[in-house]
Symmetry: C2
Subunit: 361 residues, 2 copies
């Protein structure tokens, strides 16, 4: 079994990576909890639950195990579903010693984590990520729901007690979902680990069939980058912001298109290409962005901004992003591959490049 | 000016107590913030706003100051109002450097604090308590909203940057609100400071006209108890639970009667009498509870459980309290005046005493 240690000021815990782990969650949970759980609520979604919920549930022996299944998809990260899950937790009689298990992708992890963060002012939770993207979202304690006026606008920092990552379950993901998650893998290489990025470029030429040994290695390396960053900066006061490479434009695209039209990672890759071009202009990135764009395209990513979107409306949306302060746009850029920085940019500075990246109809 | 220092693992800050302080919030805020605020949202309620909002607002000079006024009363600590306030914050363009100012009693402090705790995963906030009760609720970082199935069930721990307590504003409170707040003052004496309790008993014989010098002294002493406890145990893993003396039954009374029938403190005093009697039975409290009950009654408190309530339904509600774990009832009791403890009690042990405390119709 592979393990990555996560050390933050508020909590230390481990990410366990192993094929078949879903069938052992109950037993493994006992090992990681300092105080035993009084009861468990497993939260999953309508796609994941039919596939894996029973196996996870059956891995618990003498505990009261409750389950809640939300509709699959980003729309579930809402106030309404948040309130429904809290009602469920109360009706199931959860108390301060109970543990919530998030079984699913980033959507389930984010909302189940926020429920855990706020139920009775915070109870423990366990991440059981089932998407490739969730190798990122399940580590580091950022939990949230969306507001109609912006993504992830309401949330907390609440670290899980452990992350149990079963690589086997990733093989039921669609190719789009592989692509969505792989964007965050590449991002980790770009901001922090050039050698890992080079390894990815030489090893991964298609997302259709990554062998399990490659997958395990890739996850361990990618999570290790996240672990380093979170250890240095739990609450995003500094370097943690680098994880937002590609996300300012990415979020604006998701907001303008409506959640779900592009996957999170697909939107992020468009944002990464944009951030790299801007880095060439504003902070001396000398890497050949065209080459990267071609690699992304070979992996199946669309790297252009959809044709019907206007640069101005994207800029306006970017101004409302959490990362902006006082009406400017704060973006993550690259000085070189592996070396990120943040910069405040004006709408004038970015408009031309944005327009150039819009798809020709 | 009087000051009480609050030191918790997550943050240190001060409570400033002074008549007229509301007119200086803007200037004083600058002194306590390490990083300046980018903008401010003052949250108040429909009773407090007409009285004091303008004065507070005018104390800010060159900042963008937004305001939101919620309906006065416990019913506002709801999901709906929570979401409305977050919408307001987004529409006003608040960002991560913005500061929320809670101007009001415990209701405003609790919900505004929870908005601050969750807006963009947490921004700074300032408490400007305007009720006597809020000398307790504004200190220590417990913030929450209610769920139809239980009070304060959804919330966080989020410490303010400072508490600015203007004693002058307390004189517009109704006598019932003085009584509500004074319950928490007596509680602080009962669980931790017998000398303070004796001072209260000899000094305060009526809540109708407490002179301002006595009020200042009383607040400083009472907040000092809270400060000690919060310093020892920020997240309520141990001694902080002692602050819940009288609250298990108190909350059950509020839930069963509907919020607002009894004030929080009125409900707590009934709970305190009950806890003291139970302490005599279960953990050797030798104090004469009748004498205390008479003092409470002289101050205008009703110490009996309203006649139409059944012991069984109260017990059932107490079982659902946050402080209970695994179906038992966890209560704060007194070994002696000034020395609190927690005990798990069964419904059998408490039923007889509960029945005896019900008002004779
Ligand atoms: N908290 C963080 O630090 C962080 C970081 C990045 C992204 N996120 C959030 O993560 C979310 C996106 O996560 P996601 O891409 O995992 O989305 P997701 O949870 O919606 O999963 C994508 C789809 O795959 C399905 N699915 C999940 N596991 C499956 C499996 N094993 N087999 C088949 N189908 C499966 C889901 O039901 C869903 O339909 C966004 O809301 C984003 O904001 C959070
Ligand atoms: N967070 C904590 O640690 C903590 C501790 C104890 C209680 N609480 C919470 O506090 C709440 C009760 O607080 P509260 O008793 O202050 O209630 P409140 O905020 O509802 O205030 C009581 C009434 O007094 C009015 N009012 C406030 N200031 C006034 C003033 N200066 N002059 C005239 N009227 C004024 C209010 O509009 C309201 O109608 C409850 O929700 C309780 O759960 C929280």
């Amino acid at each position: 079994m592979r393990k990555v240690a996560i050390k933050t000021p508020s909590k230390s815990y481990e990410v366990f990576i192993e094929a078949g782990l879903r069938r052992e969650i109950g037993r493994r949970m006992d090992d990681v909890l300092a105080q035993p759980a009084s009861s468990v609520l497993i939260i999953s979604d309508s796609v994941v639950a039919p596939l894996y919920l029973d196996e996870v549930k059956n891995s618990f022996s003498d505990l009261a195990v409750h389950t809640a299944v939300i509709e699959a998809g980003e729309a579930s990260k809402s106030f309404t579903v948040f309130e429904q899950l809290l009602t469920k937790a109360l009706e199931a009689g959860l108390d301060r010693k109970s543990v919530i298990v998030a079984l699913g992708g980033g959507v389930v992890g984010d909302i189940a984590g926020f429920v855990a963060a706020t139920f009775m002012r915070g109870i423990r939770f366990i991440q059981v990520p089932t998407t490739l993207l969730a190798h990122d979202s399940s580590v580091g304690g950022k939990v949230a729901i969306n507001h109609p006026l912006g993504k992830n606008m309401v949330g907390s920092f609440h670290q899980p007690e452990a992350v149990f990552y079963d690589t086997e379950v990733l093989y039921s993901l669609s190719e789009r979902e592989w692509r969505s998650g792989f964007a965050e893998v590449m991002k980790h290489g770009l901001i922090r680990k050039p050698s890992f990025l080079t390894w990815l470029q030489t090893t991964i030429s298609s997302l259709e069939s990554i062998p399990v040994e490659v997958l395990d290695e890739l996850l361990e390396q990618s999570i290790a980058v996240k672990a380093e960053i979170v250890a240095e900066d739990e609450k995003e006061a500094g370097v943690r912001a680098y994880l937002n490479l590609g996300h300012t434009l990415g979020h604006a695209l998701e907001t303008k298109l409506g959640y779900g039209k592009l996957t999170h990672g697909e939107a992020v890759v468009i944002g990464i290409v944009f951030a790299m071009r801007l880095s060439g202009k504003l902070c001396g990135l000398s890497a050949n962005v065209d080459d990267y764009e071609k690699w992304f395209q070979r992996l199946g990513y669309d790297t252009k901004i959809p044709a019907h979107l206007q640069a101005d409306e994207l800029i306006e949306t970017m101004m409302k992003d959490k990362k902006t302060e006082g009406g400017t746009i704060r973006m993550v850029l690259l000085r070189s591959i592996g070396e990120a920085t943040t910069m405040t940019v004006s709408s004038d500075e970015i408009k031309q490049l944005l327009v150039e990246q819009v798809e020709v109809d």
